[in-house]
């Protein structure tokens, strides 16, 4: 397979479109947790009961048009190889949790991969919608349409007082997790983000790195999402998130301007060194790769680099993940081999760019 067609498979079609504030916001995600009324939650369900749920749900939704997402396709995780399943995790179409609980679980996907509905995750249904850039309102109203359409076919577990019932009480009520993925190189570089995080937490929001372990954020990519799901309307939840994101965007842009003015040469040097590393290295670890990719993307955004497309950041962050590298190599790779493959992949990706 050519690299181009491999990339096309690795990158969901919706990711290739631009969106509002996409110099900083990579994507917006809405997730709704829902359970069926008559069945035990996956945590305690027997494999018979799990089978019944996945059968019931796929029967109702597979091949159907839900809102304007046509012909949903069902992937049962047991039908996929481990590597293919991991690749779905790396594309964020399924959660690591689903990967670990793969018997009787699966995912319904729309053709553009914007809508994914996980079945038998921690809850019976996890409805996820992705939008490029900052589009919380659009994503929420779209998610409501999808939710209404599903609810006309399946009975949800709903409580007059507690709202939508979920396995974990941290999701009860709206079952809504709204998250925005942001690239904040300037705020991270200047340590300003660390100072802002406690204030953001006080508003009931969580900031975390989406690549890398613990609090470390590889590639300066962070996910900001709501923690509170009960006692606030969905609209309030996204308005709160939206106002914080707007502030983050303002600050990030201001610091970028300050950096280019005050330490232009240093910044330019850092960006071009990273560009050089991506272009010429023969072995590269994921951490260094993420740093370089982030620098190059910043270089594009502030106008130093003009011959590379913006999508390179989200694209390479997915492509250089272990499962994708191994899919590309078509075999198992140990860490050293992955570092080599990663370097090759990035060199080839940049050559592709220069050919355009």
């Amino acid at each position: 397979m050519s690299l181009q067609s491999f990339i096309d498979r690795a990158i969901s079609p919706w990711m290739q479109e631009g969106g509002p504030a996409d110099d900083i916001v990579l994507s917006t995600r809405i997730r709704l947790a829902r359970n069926l009324s008559e069945d035990p939650f996956p945590l305690v369900a027997s494999s018979e009961a799990l089978k019944k749920v996945s059968h019931h749900v796929t029967e109702a939704l597979q091949g159907e048009t839900i809102s304007h997402y046509e012909d949903l396709q069902y992937l049962a995780l047991t039908d996929l190889s481990t590597l293919d399943t991991r690749a779905l995790v790396e594309k964020h179409l399924i959660s690591p949790y689903l990967f670990e609980h793969s018997s009787h679980s699966g995912v319904l996907l729309s053709a553009n991969e914007q809508l994914s509905i996980m079945i038998n995750e921690e809850d019976h249904l996890r409805i996820q919608l992705y939008f490029p850039g900052l589009q919380l309102e659009e994503a929420l109203s779209e998610a409501f349409l999808v939710d209404d359409a599903i609810e006309s076919k399946l009975n949800y577990a709903f409580h007059e007082k507690y709202g939508y019932l979920t396995t974990c009480p941290t999701n009860v009520g709206t079952g809504l997790r709204a998250s925005v993925m942001v690239h904040l190189p300037a705020l991270s570089m200047t340590n300003k983000l660390q100072k802002m995080i406690p204030a953001i937490n006080q508003l009931g929001l969580v900031v975390r790195g989406i690549y890398g372990e613990g609090t470390e954020a590889l590639g300066n990519i962070y996910q900001v999402s709501n923690q509170v799901t009960l006692g606030r309307t969905e609209k309030d939840i996204i308005d709160n998130l939206s106002s914080v994101i707007t502030k983050l965007i303002e600050h990030e842009r201001a610091v970028r301007v300050m950096l280019t003015k005050q330490s232009g040469v240093e910044l330019e040097d850092r960006i071009y060194r990273s560009y050089g590393t991506l272009k010429y290295s023969r072995l590269i670890e994921s951490k260094e790769a993420a740093k370089c990719i982030s620098d190059v993307r910043l270089g594009i955004d502030v106008g130093y680099i003009t011959d590379i497309s913006k999508t390179i950041l989200s694209e390479l962050m997915v492509l250089t993940q272990p499962a994708f590298l191994q899919q590309y190599a078509k075999r198992h790779l140990n860490q050293h081999e992955r570092d080599e493959k990663r370097a090759t992949m990035m060199r080839e990706r940049l050559t592709l760019e220069n050919d355009h």
Binding site: N35, S37, D39, P40, F41, L43, V44, E122, F144, D147, D148, E151, S152, N155, Y156, A157, F158, H159, E160, K161, Y162, G163, Y164, L165, T166, T167, C168, P169, T170, V172, G173, T174, L176, G204, E213, G214, Q227, V228, T229, L230, G231, R232, T233, E234, Q335
Partner: protein
């Protein structure tokens, strides 16, 4: 200090093991330690552990020991989730658990959801028409209020009529359920 295993990354984890009166020290980086199975790859404190700790604190305070035996035998009639298992994972087995463990649930909901214990958002339209209408009326009332406050009276009149129509509809259907 560099990692003894890969000799590339700095050693960030230090393991000391005692076997046969012999002390064995290893200095490793995070990647190698997880490759060697010495630590879990995602070694962070899971939220439900935190919750169940909070919860234990709560019940200990509230119950002052004695009452616990009655609580501990509590079992959800539908999915047979036991009190002990619920407290351990702080997760529910089915929709009826929310009723079974309701007294244990409230204080924790308050902590997790900023003092909130009741849902105010979306309602399933098809199954819960009644609540959904009530909520719609509430939304209209809020809009009406803000219209009046900002002196947009024409809009306010329209909204008032909509509320009337809605309420009329509700009383007409009143006997159905």
């Amino acid at each position: 200090m560099e990692c003894e295993h890969c000799h590339e990354r700095p050693a960030t984890l230090h393991f000391t093991q005692y076997a046969h009166n012999h002390k064995h020290v290893q200095h490793l980086c995070h990647t190698c330690a997880s490759d060697l199975g010495l630590i879990e790859a995602n070694d962070h404190y899971p939220i439900h552990d935190l919750l169940s700790d909070l919860f234990k604190m709560n019940s200990a305070l509230a119950n002052n020991q004695r009452q616990t035996s009655a609580q501990e035998t509590k079992v959800c009639p539908t999915c047979h989730m036991t009190y002990t298992r619920f407290v351990k994972h702080y997760k529910f087995g089915c929709k009826d658990c929310y009723e079974t463990f309701t007294s244990e649930l409230e204080p924790v909901l308050k902590r997790v959801h900023n003092g909130n214990t009741a849902h105010v958002g979306k309602v399933p339209k098809h199954q819960h028409t009644h609540i959904s209408k009530q909520q719609q009326i509430k939304v209209y009332r809020d809009q009406l209020k803000s219209c009046i406050e900002s002196e947009r009276f024409e809009e306010a009149a329209e909204i008032r009529d909509m509320i009337k129509a809605f309420e009329q509809d509700e009383t007409n259907r009143g006997g159905d359920e």
